[in-house]
Amino acid sequence: MVVSTPPACFHCGGPVPRDSPCAVRVAGVSRPVCCSGCEAAVHLVLAQGLERYYEFRSGSGALPPRPGRDWSSFDREASLRRFTHLRTDGERELSLQVDGLHCAACGWLIENSLRRLSGISAVHVSAGTGRAELRYQPGRVALSRVLERIDALGFQPHPLSFSSSGPDGAAERRDALKRLAVAGFGMMEVMTYSVALYAGAMQGIAPDIEQLLRFVSLVVATPVALYSARPFYDGAWRALRARTLGMDVPVALSIGSAYLWSVVAVLRGSGAVYFDSVVMFTFFLGLGRFAEMTLRHRAGLQQDAFARMLPDSVLRIVGEGAERVLPEELVAGDRVRVLAGERIAADGEVLTGATEVDESLLTGESAPQVRGPHDALIAGSLNLSGVVEMRVLRVGQDSTLAAISRLLEHARASRPRFVALSDRAASWFIGAVLVFAAAVGLHWLHTDPARAFPCVLAVLVVTCPCALSLAAPAALASATTRLARAGLLVTGGRALERLARADRIVFDKTGTLTRGRPRLQSVRALSARADPERCRAIAAALERHSEHPLARAFALIAPAPGLRQVQLAVGRGLAGELDGVRYRLGRSDFVHEFCHDAAASRLPGMERGRSDCVEILLGDEQGPLAQFLLSDSLREDAPDTLAALGMLGVTPVIASGDVPGIVTLVARRLGVREAHAALRPADKVALVRTLQAAGHGVAMVGDGINDAPVLAAADVSIAIGSGTELAKVSAELILPGEALAPLIDGVETARRMRRIIRQNLAWAILYNATAVPIAAAGWLSPWMAAAGMSLSSLLVVINAMRLLGDGATRTPSLGLGAAPVQAARA
């Protein structure tokens, strides 16, 4: 019995159980919602008169809210000191990172909903970065109340430490915009004067007018050369100090020397001026850098992702009582009570109680682990079922989480040879250009010293002109734009070049090839007394009380009402009473021991547990009633995507931390020949290194924290959007949705981009090869060089624009006529 494609929840866009009792009336139309949390969120939105949110948002909605979260620890003095800043007028301000925020309408909803609270002085939400800036009056509203409101709307607020929030890219962006504007305006002005000067050079011009035009060009080009081009000088200086030759070195050299030479020429009243080259060069290069920076910011990368793996607060046991404190306040030796559903704040050991923990993000092990007294607990893992008291052993930098973080840093620092190779090639090329320019200069110094500098400069400008430096960035910008439309975000500049080269693609299994969520595969009645539908409802009612990952498989089923006296047996199951009958749900031994009739309970119709499935039984005191088989389902498009990638010559490989049986099964179903199971993060890194050593270009697709180091080690790293922040931080490509299929477009586009870059480079080199000797010989007059440079750049840009083509041009649809919800989710 497989649940057919259910309707989408009106609020969160998730699937709605067939017989969900929850529904809302919006504008007179009844809409399905998936759970009471979403129902409450919709009511909250409606009660505030903000229902137009649903009309204008794009794509699916917010996250399903988790009710009942305790935000009160944010009202503690220590929290306020850490997250907020007390202004002189008595108000406090803070920054939040908001998860689930994906369009401008979501930002509008949060802004307007918060403004309806009294005591909020200012709120601004930026949908692009997912940041909210907030100012409030502490006397009139508590911080916890504000966070609670955002939570209730279906978004996850994460207050950012006031010190660490620092520059969030807005400052960098403003700075770059200003520099770009100066270069852009300057280019328009200077080109106007230059055209007049070139015309004058051909047709004759009055000397005073010529002097005026040259002087005005100098005035306008000065801020461009000194202010707009500043990042290039800085970059060149950094490269030189690191004893390398980056692209910035010849750029800085040409801009700087062309400008200085032209200034001298203007002041002396004779000689060619190159202000047009200076401004155009600066503007086009600046534009490329700006586009790259925008992409980087848009990915909304969070550097403090590790900190967010820890809970916002912990329950510290002090004497007889307990208090909510921040994880930072913990020291080794503290006793902490961890409730079901909470994350564990520090490494430690269990003192009393028993529970199951989900360590999948840290170890890749997908099955929950049972932990009793004296067992170790890892910071960042999730407590699933029981309440335990633990003793803190290691905090902060000593914890396992911090160790993984250091592993990540290390892997990132030693990125493999391909980058180094292209950097070295660039260094060689640049070195050759500089040597050639110097040789030309020496030659002319001997023959005709007056013409030495113009010729050297001509060589520098011509060898490193817009065409050559635009060849790659223009193609890259087109490719990234196209891929963003197709559903693949590019954050690293060089990632696409390496993706074009990749011939192995390594997939993590859980959460990448599979959804990372168990699904109910089948229900089988084990007794004549049992009705499968009724059993499903009873099981769903019981599982509502569990945080266990398996419980999520039942979230789509409407629970039977009236369940009482629910008890949790750690690692085994749940028990409860409904209409006077006591039920048990869980592992088969747990259910069997309940009915004291283990021998008779194995009925012939019962399917033996399959290796890829987890078996759960429901029983009452007379015997087992039903068997549920759960398994983590593959993403729908995984088989097709992997087959298509194989056709493109990119061989898929599976590297999973999961047990071999399941991995083999998934590999067989997907037709993947090479699959590795039971790998720890370090093993995955080793696997990628082995593939690289065999000469393969390796792309890695992953989602979990445990994938972060291997993502950093691969040639190209791809994170899937439903994964953790941290994986995204270390990835260069991000699949923001649930689909894998954009990878195919990614590989194809990357290869087309490589082809176009090669064409562009070929053209640029052809142009240079013909122009350099002419320039070196001193036959190139300024207007010829400028015209040639502009034409050649134009050609390169137009060629790159071809990458944008044949993809449907779709502007983000937020228009009035747009379908209200669930526009695009295949």
Binding site: L50, A104, R116, V123, A170, A181, F185
Partner: protein, 59 residues
């Protein structure tokens, strides 16, 4: 062509003014979010002015 001695400085002052205006706009955060405002004009409901509508920097 002597008019150029007047026109070009005039052009330059326009140029400086445009730059100043742009810098001012950037400083005021006008370019920080280029997506939300386009939608906000459609969203802002005129039905119910609420208390505390003193607004944020973008209001």
């Amino acid at each position: 062509m002597k008019i150029l001695f007047l026109l070009i400085p005039l052009g330059l002052s326009l140029f400086s003014f445009a730059l100043w205006a742009f810098f001012w706009a950037v400083r005021r955060g006008q370019f920080d979010d280029l997506e939300a405002p386009a939608v906000q004009i459609l969203l802002d409901d005129d039905r119910r002015p609420t208390r505390d509508e003193r607004g944020g920097p973008d209001a």
